[in-house]
Amino acid sequence: MEKKTLNKVLIIVVIVLMLGVILSLSSINSIVVEIKPEIKSNDSGNSNTSVMNSTQNTTKNTNNMISIPLEKPPFIKD
């Protein structure tokens, strides 16, 4: 391969790499999802019995239960 051709190929590779980096950086702040933790309370003060299914957000006579979704931060890369 000629020297000039090799240089042209290298320049194209670098430009592609730079575009990848720019696109990657620009996507960091693009994901914003609002989270409003669900809070349910049926505080009976001095309850003796309660039933809570941690998966269905159903509570009886507990002071508090909050379920919050977990989501990977957009600024953390793999």
Binding site: N7, L10, I11, V14, L17, M18, V21, S24, L25, I28, N29, V32, V33, E34, I35, K36, I39, S41, D43, G45, N46, S47, N48, T49, S50, V51, M52, N53, S54, T55, N61, T62, N63, N64, M65, I66, S67, I68, P69, L70, E71, K72, P73, F75, I76, K77, D78
Partner: protein, 282 residues
């Protein structure tokens, strides 16, 4: 020749940008456990942000990592905070610490606690500290706050269960984790105020009188539970807290929690428990 040098320099710059962008991921996946994060909506002056840190553990031109104090927490309970100049703030506990440390006991009346009025977790209290010092009211960005557990990347949910008992007696509750859920982590923090008023001596107060029992086993010192330290108020142990992880929590079984408050003399103070579950919901 000149072209080759140019190409090499450009490649080097690209590599530096790429590696710098991933620096935050390295610390988070190797050090962090439960985390809360938010973008304050503007770039952050790190000199300004640094003023709210009690301890700065690492600082570069683009971020700070350190300890930001939250109310009514001992040294073990103080969260770490990552603040980036691009506006992101993340509060987290180390991966080995119980997730239940997020419970903010300082927000409640110690003689008549109502945990349903909880406004922010301890992690959010730390986020609030940073956002306030950089001029952004946390209440305006709180709805954008999200959570993540770096040790359980497949987990998609966290549930915080809390109960309190303001006077002599027992409060009980039950909870169940369905079979179809993947349970990654279960942890707890027990908090008692004035649980043994008038009595001096560790080992007699708190756990032996006021305590929390899961399925009939007192959590402090129970098999499968790792307990940590407590803090005291003078010699009377007025402010006690115990925390740890539950190594095995059988699914599809109704587990019973008994919260005991048994003050020795005057019926003031309270007994409280927080349990945090990290799981994957189908």
């Amino acid at each position: 020749m000149k072209t080759k040098i140019f190409v090499a320099l450009i490649t080097l710059v690209c590599a530096v940008i790429f590696l710098t962008g991933n620096a935050s991921a390295a610390f988070a996946t190797s050090e962090a456990g439960i985390s809360a994060y938010v973008n304050v909506g503007t770039s952050i002056n790190l000199d300004q942000a640094a003023s709210v840190y009690k301890i700065i553990e690492d600082r570069t031109s683009t971020y700070i990592i350190g300890i930001v104090e939250v109310p009514n927490a001992n040294d073990y309970e103080q969260p770490h905070v990552y603040t980036s100049s691009d506006g992101w703030v993340m509060a987290y506990y180390a991966k080995e610490q119980p997730r239940a440390l997020i419970m903010p006991w300082g927000q409640f009346d110690t003689n008549n606690p109502d945990t349903s009025i909880m406004s922010n977790t301890r992690l959010e209290e730390a986020l609030s500290g940073v956002s306030t010092v950089v001029g952004v009211a946390y209440s305006s960005i709180k709805p954008n706050t999200k959570y993540y557990d770096f040790q359980y990347p497949a987990a998609n949910g966290l549930t915080l269960i809390s109960e309190s008992r303001p006077n002599n007696g027992v409060d009980s509750f039950r909870f169940r984790v369905p079979t179809e859920y993947v349970l990654y982590d279960a942890s707890w923090e027990y908090y008692s105020y004035d649980g043994c008023d008038g009595v001096v001596g560790a080992g007699y107060c708190g756990p032996l009188r006021s305590n929390f029992q899961l399925d009939g086993n007192q959590l402090s010192g129970t098999d499968g539970v790792i307990s940590h330290n407590s803090i005291s108020d003078g010699g009377s142990l007025k402010d006690e807290r115990y925390f740890g992880t539950i190594s095995a929590l059988t699914k599809d079984v109704l587990h019973k929690g008994d919260l005991v408050y048994n003050p020795i003399s005057t019926d003031v103070g309270s007994s409280s428990i927080a349990i945090v579950l990290i799981y994957k919901q189908p």
